[in-house]
Amino acid sequence: MYGRTLAVLAVLAVAACPWRIASAEKARPEAVGPQTNQPGEPNEPNEPAPARKGRSGLTGYVAAEGRLFFHDPLYAGQEDNNGSLAAQPEYYYQWNNGALFTFTPFARVDSVDSERTHWDIRELYYHYAQDWWSVRFGMARVFWGATEFVHLVDVINQTDLVEHIDGEDKLGQPMLQFSSSVDWGSLDIFILPYFRERTFPGREGRLRPELEIDTDHAIYENRDKERAKDLAIRYSRTFGDLDLGTYLFIGTNRDPLLVPADYLDPNDTADPRLIPFYERVTQLGLDATWASGNWLWKLETVYRKGYLDPYVAATGGLEYTFYGFAGGKSDVGLVAEYVYDERGDDPEMTSIFDDDLFLGLRLSPNDLAGTQVLMGFMQDLGDPENAVSVEASRRFGDHWRLSLDLWLFLDAPENNVIYYIRDDDFVRLELAYHF
């Protein structure tokens, strides 16, 4: 029965789901209050408990967003402000044996930037789990890493950069994943059969370099292009207070080099523009988090060997949390992180952070509205380059959440990436309905 389930394709799972929802709903007792428990009635060890039966759900959000830029655009074609609508529903079905099917599409419609009007399948996978091993196939999102500001080791998914400049949004990645968890740690093997190109703001969009990025004509080192297969193997383990992970990745670099079109082809007569170039890389990564009292110590480091010279980059730092700050219910967290990149600052934008310090302040009043505030400050220690961000959000009622982000690019000398977006200071307001 399990073997057959394993053989069923995700497509079939979709087809089977409507029927399964109906039967699961029928089997589940209605809005169970405390009185439904029979006092003293024992549950037999082998009798399946109510919550272990298959269950399904539809969750997610729809959101309206507006971005207001404080300065006039620098580059031809750019518009001032933009508004957009986005939706990300998730449907899931979890079988009573722990197997999971989930489908999470995403779409955004933007008033200004045609590149930002885009859609994606964030997740569409089937995950079959036995006690100590599991298999997952489909589109999925995998996060690796420890630090808060820069994510160096997180390599499986491509960044959906047109979504947000913080790079936290990721595109769904097609994968076949085998995992095992035993006493001596967890081992994950990923086969990634298809590559996703990074998204960038289009000609009308803000927060882009002067030259437009031509995402329609990306070039690859490997002749199989996006069909070249990637492989990743990760081992992770917890030793008491210490979480440790290490991996090997062989595949197409998620970070493209942006090359001027006339550099690639001197006879190119079209408008000057940048072409993303995706090299093949071999990458080793390590991430660690150590908890000690109210302190968290974090480290991420990668070694990458590809088309250009091999290099090492690392980021690390600490986080301290004051719980019940000043005798009240608030938690206050302080974050300090440093980023090093052997390549240094580079006008070709291979690296953004080379010798930079990040400071963060996190406020959680633990109120009914679930208010959260995160303030960040970035300072390049080699150049007078710095930026400020504030992200604040709170809930209204049970379903609405209002977010306010502020990004200020303060000082930006030439030949720094921030120089290109020096006049793109903005405030972003988002109202999301969660269901």
């Binding site: 428990n37 006092p39 919550a51 969750t59 992770s236 633990n366 679930g370």
Partner: protein, 262 residues
């Protein structure tokens, strides 16, 4: 000779419990040990939890969670709290590996980023989901982390009760100087706890009601109400859909597997 030895051994074991000459500290510890012994042995349990938060003006806000908990042979409990509402935190999972003498290990899974984040868990005085319960109040209380003193016998909720004071040994990371606990003499179930803040003034009172018996052995409260005397706010926990010995394993409480919980 042999008989004397057996008698001495029996006296040594039973003595501390029965002996009228024991100190208040010994008596307090003995009662709490016995209550702990009766609580344990359930294997694993799952349940649902509705959290009702009320402020001074009577405004009400609700949260829903699913709880999974499992005993381990030589260490503290493993537990999972799965958030079902409010909608913007739906799908978040809190994993705790409790330890008897060391600080607990804790991870939070955030579905929006698919990220499993370790939390600094030594300090447990922070609020749990904005409620009047701190992490300390909802965590399983390892006996080893407190000192005890029997205070008096008293009637509470119409039953004969032991009244015991406990003080956290790790004073730095607790929000309280002491707690006073009422346990009914018949079943050693906790009926009430008073929490005294760092200035030693009464901060909160937690009342346990609607105890029900599972597997003919395990009493569990289904209604816990925490009143904060200093702010006038209160938080009520209503437990339902309890099931025991559902076959949870160590891998259900592995941080590596949090991403597949729905």
């Amino acid at each position: 000779m042999k008989r004397t030895l057996i008698a001495a051994t029996v006296a040594a074991i039973v003595g501390p419990v029965l002996c009228a000459g024991q100190t208040p500290e010994e008596k307090g510890l003995a009662i709490v040990r016995e209550a702990d012994r009766r609580f344990k042995g359930y294997g694993d349990a799952i349940s649902r939890l509705r959290m009702i938060l009320r402020n001074k003006q009577g405004q009400v806000s609700e949260r829903e969670l699913r709880i999974r908990v499992m005993e381990t042979p030589d260490d503290g409990d493993r537990s999972l709290s799965i958030f079902d509402s409010p909608a913007d935190v739906k799908g978040a999972v809190l994993l705790t590996h409790a330890h008897r003498s060391e600080p607990d290990d804790q991870w939070l899974y955030l579905p929006a980023l698919e990220r499993v984040k370790r939390i600094a868990a030594q300090n447990k005085s922070g609020s749990f989901m904005g409620s009047e319960f701190s992490y300390e109040d909802i965590a399983t209380q390892a006996i080893e982390k407190y000192s005890y003193q029997w205070l008096r016998d008293e009637t509470c909720q119409g039953q004969d009760c032991h009244v015991i004071e406990r003080r956290p040994l790790d004073k730095q990371n607790s929000g309280y100087t002491r707690q006073i606990i009422w346990l009914d003499k018949e079943h050693l179930r906790t009926l009430q706890i008073e929490y005294y803040d760092r200035k030693d003034s009464l901060l909160k009172t937690l009342t346990f009601q609607d105890y029900r018996l599972y597997l003919d052995r395990f009493w569990r409260p289904h209604d816990m109400n925490m009143v904060n005397h200093q702010t006038g706010k209160s938080s009520q926990l209503v437990w339902f859909d309890y099931a025991f010995r559902t076959g949870l394993t160590e891998n259900d409480f592995n941080q590596h597997n949090l991403t597949r919980i729905r």
